[in-house]
């Protein structure tokens, strides 16, 4: 009696296998388009082919006035637009140009009052006319409102409290709830009075007037009023739907796209807004943004043809470059982020400049870039990123703080630790992910090999790391700064001013303070840039809390069928050329 003669169990196995095989041999159902070989340039494919699937991380909000992260901002720039918008120029720079505004603002003689006229015929996606009052509501109620306060409220506050553009009355309104030590509970009338005192008014339906606390240059004004915190708002829609006002079906937009579908943890779908006022009009009829946090997962999805634009990990660069197709679809762009080793100046060892100099000069940044980033990033001894006005670059600082083992050893000896003898072990605090592990091990090895000192690595999760940084519980910290807007003041003010809100390494230098303070009130732009550039020189040459190591780059894969990609790392937000998503299209094969 052979059990094999009873085919019951075997048939079950065969059936299971058949099911798997039938799934494999089934048609291509629902994944994204497989990429055809690109044979044409520039011309758009027919409308039914204008479908694009891209990858980004999941946003926290779709409300521009509450957003803090680049993935949120990336989506919101597709859904909304402000008075001005940031565009890439032919030379790779950035310019703030009129969006909803009709031309340049009119500035008063004292430089504190700006009048902006809107273009005619503007409409929201639901057909309601877009008026100046919507911008007033966006800037006042949603921008300065204490209940909507977020990381970017500071853009509208004054320099006196660490802000930027200084809309009159915004400081008082945004801080209406007081502080944790001295909380306030204003009445509705008091809040209304504070709100009405904010210096943004609609003169008529198509004009608004903005009063500032301090004089500002028109370019600075336009830059700030390009940003998401100043987008217009529909208070009627927000009141009607509450927190669900950004749900598909409820959301009302003035940007090139509107959101028609949102599946948490999965994707959003955008389609053209028929009332988008500007050119170009979107050619894409459907843009799907898939939420994939892990770049390695995104890379595999690109390889299977399910996604058309991805940000992939640097570790896969050799694979990409070795592939005939992928190598042609690779885009590398320097971002607006500088990575640095941050050094706690309150620490008795690190407060010695020679120790900091030794640490900085012992780092071979070129090799670091190859080992950690597979050559994708830009070795940096500078703080103002390439692309910003006032950029000085490695030519200025390489010989002062750059890699030189002899100079590093000498600096350590001058600090009293020849060949590292007697040097206490330090700790380097990093986030627990693959790149930072690689970076940490590289730095540890550099300091051991070149200086003979011991640095222990401490890996923690993101929130713990941030908490330790904010409470200044660190010696060495892998940090840096991602610019919020393309002005050299952004990576300097508040980071290197004594008692600055982001100055957790305790850089305190009267010369640096003087330069930055003067830059805030300088009315001549060239002089202002020079002051900021001088401040950078002082910060870097004194290693005042930071030793820059790389200007980060992002690596993307973009299918050759996709057109309209004009990247600019200073303003792209996690997707190549997403400063103009309406420019994207599918090329004719």
């Amino acid at each position: 009696m052979s059990f094999l003669k009873n085919r019951g169990c075997l048939l079950s196995l065969v059936a299971l296998g058949a099911l798997v095989a039938s799934a494999a041999c089934g048609g291509d159902d629902g994944g994204g388009e497989k990429s055809p070989a690109a044979t044409g340039e520039g011309e758009a494919a027919p409308a039914d082919q204008q479908v694009l699937v891209v990858q980004h991380t999941e946003p926290q909000y779709f409300d521009p006035h509450r957003s803090n992260f680049e993935q949120d901002i990336s989506n919101e720039r597709m859904l909304f637009r402000g008075l001005y918008q940031l565009e890439s120029t032919a030379d790779g720079g950035v310019s703030a140009v009129p969006a909803m505004a009709d031309g340049e603002p009119t500035v008063s003689a004292d430089g504190k009052t700006f009048k902006v006229k809107l273009k005619s015929g503007l409409k929201w996606s639901d057909g309601v006319p877009l008026t100046a009052q919507h911008f007033v509501d966006g800037i006042v109620s949603r921008g300065c409102g204490p209940d909507v306060s977020n990381d970017y409220t500071y853009l509208l506050q004054s320099a006196a409290i660490g802000g930027i553009i200084g809309v009159k009355g915004c400081d008082e309104y945004s801080n209406a709830m007081g502080t944790t030590d001295q909380p306030k509970t204003p009445t509705e009338q008091e809040l209304a009075a504070l709100r009405d005192a904010v210096g943004v008014k609609a003169i008529d339906d198509t004009s608004l007037e903005i009063d500032l606390v301090d004089p500002k240059l028109p370019n600075s004004f336009k830059q700030i009023f390009s940003l998401w915190k100043t987008f217009p708002a529909r208070l009627d829609v927000i009141k009607k739907y509450g927190d669900k006002w950004t749900d598909p079906g409820n959301i009302v937009v003035n940007g090139p796209f509107t959101m028609t579908e949102f599946v948490p943890k999965d994707h959003i779908t955008l389609e053209p807004n028929p009332n988008w006022a500007l050119e170009p009009k979107p050619k894409l009829r459907k843009l799907t943004i898939k939420f994939i946090d892990d770049p390695a997962v995104a890379f595999r999805a690109y390889q299977t043809g399910e996604i058309d634009i991805v940000n992939f990990p640097e570790s896969e660069i050799p694979t990409v470059k070795a592939d005939a197709t992928l190598s042609k679809e690779l885009i590398t762009e320097g971002t607006g982020r500088i990575d640095s080793v941050e050094m706690q100046l309150k620490d008795p060892v690190l407060k010695d400049f020679n120790v900091r100099l030794a640490l900085s000069r012992a780092i071979d940044r070129e090799t670091l870039n190859q080992v950690v980033y597979n050559g994708a990033s830009i070795p940096a001894t500078y703080w103002l990123v390439k692309g910003l006005a006032g950029y000085q670059g490695n030519a200025r600082f390489e010989k002062i703080i750059g890699y030189d083992v002899t100079a590093a050893k000498k600096a350590l000896a001058d600090a009293g630790y020849p060949d590292g003898n007697g040097f206490p072990a330090l700790k380097l605090l990093l986030r627990d992910d693959a790149v930072q592990r690689s970076l940490g091990e590289f730095l540890q090895n550099q300091w051991k090999t070149n200086l003979g000192i011991k640095v222990d690595l401490e890996f923690v999760d993101s929130k713990t790391r941030s908490s330790r940084f904010n409470s200044e519980q660190f010696q060495l910290f892998r940090g840096g700064w991602q610019i919020d807007y393309p002005d050299p003041e952004n990576p300097l003010i508040g980071l290197f001013t004594t008692e600055g809100g982001n100055n957790h390494y305790n850089c305190s230098d009267p010369d640096i303070d003087a330069k930055l303070k003067a830059a805030l009130t300088e009315s001549d732009n060239d002089k202002r840039i020079k002051l900021l550039s001088d401040a950078e020189t002082l910060i870097v040459t004194k290693l005042c809390g930071v030793a820059p190591i790389t200007q980060l780059a992002r690596v993307y894969l973009v299918r050759s069928k996709v057109g309209g990609i004009e990247t600019n790392g200073t303003i792209d937000a996690g997707l190549p050329a997403n400063w103009c998503a309406e420019c994207w299209f599918i090329k004719k094969p």
Partner: protein, 318 residues
Amino acid sequence: MTGYIIRRILWIIPVLWAVATITFFLMHAVPGGPFTQERNVPESVIIALNKRYNLDAPLWKQYLQYLWNISHGDLGLSFRGDRDVSELIRQGFFVTAQLGIVSFLFAAVLGIVLGVLSAMNRNGPLDYAGVFFATVFASVPHFVLATFLIIIFAIHLRWFDILGWGGPIEYGDAFDPSAWHLKKMVLPVISLGMLPAAYIARVTRASMLEVLGQDYIRTAHAKGLAQHVIVFRHTVKNAMIPVLTVMGPIFAALVTGSFIIENIFSIPGVGRAFVDAVIRRDYAMIMGTTLFYAAIVAFANLIVDLLYAVVDPRIRYG
């Protein structure tokens, strides 16, 4: 039996209370809060956010408020987009449950069939093949298997897709044929189900061998009963008791989701949401998903205990 079921269900309440309490205080003890960032967060922002999410009250008050809320079915709002936690869990679980149930069925069928075949062909080629399969796949972590499957079957052979889940995302689409894409389901199901299948195969084989050695099986052979009758009517049923013991926890583990598989295949399930919530210190989501998991495990164990009584008439609950 009814009394037993009611008592077990009532016991779940203090269990969930204990889970909620431990999780709540542990969660607040961990460094870093939901709004902690590398950048300085202005005080006005902290005040506004704490007010919005009721985090400005003393901890003991927040704890009592939370207990009161969950007793009324309110799991609170996620810090991500202010979405209702119950709604997020409901949506995520719909996907995770599909993945879990299909993986479980795959694991159960494959494991039991292989285990039975191995036992019936002891020391034969099928037995060696079954033992080899069980040993190998019990040793390979599912994320390693997933990577190999993706490279071979998706990237090189292009047989399957790897992004997202191949079943309906919304409950309303459950019966819509266009919401089902088998090509996307195969690899995550195999990745997740293979390790439990291997484990089930081993347990089934061992259990079958034990039952096959029993006197009543020898008697059945002596009486001339057909092989398939001996196997299916007498052997398999009795061999299933130990198998059920392991399948209960396996079912609970699969249905509550695998963060790793959901992450690798970008599946919008509740497992991924849970780990994301922990990383972000999304308090309401952490509490909601933890309680949800605890409830699932408790009910799964209850169902397994009840199934014992079904499979073994000697077991009775009073």
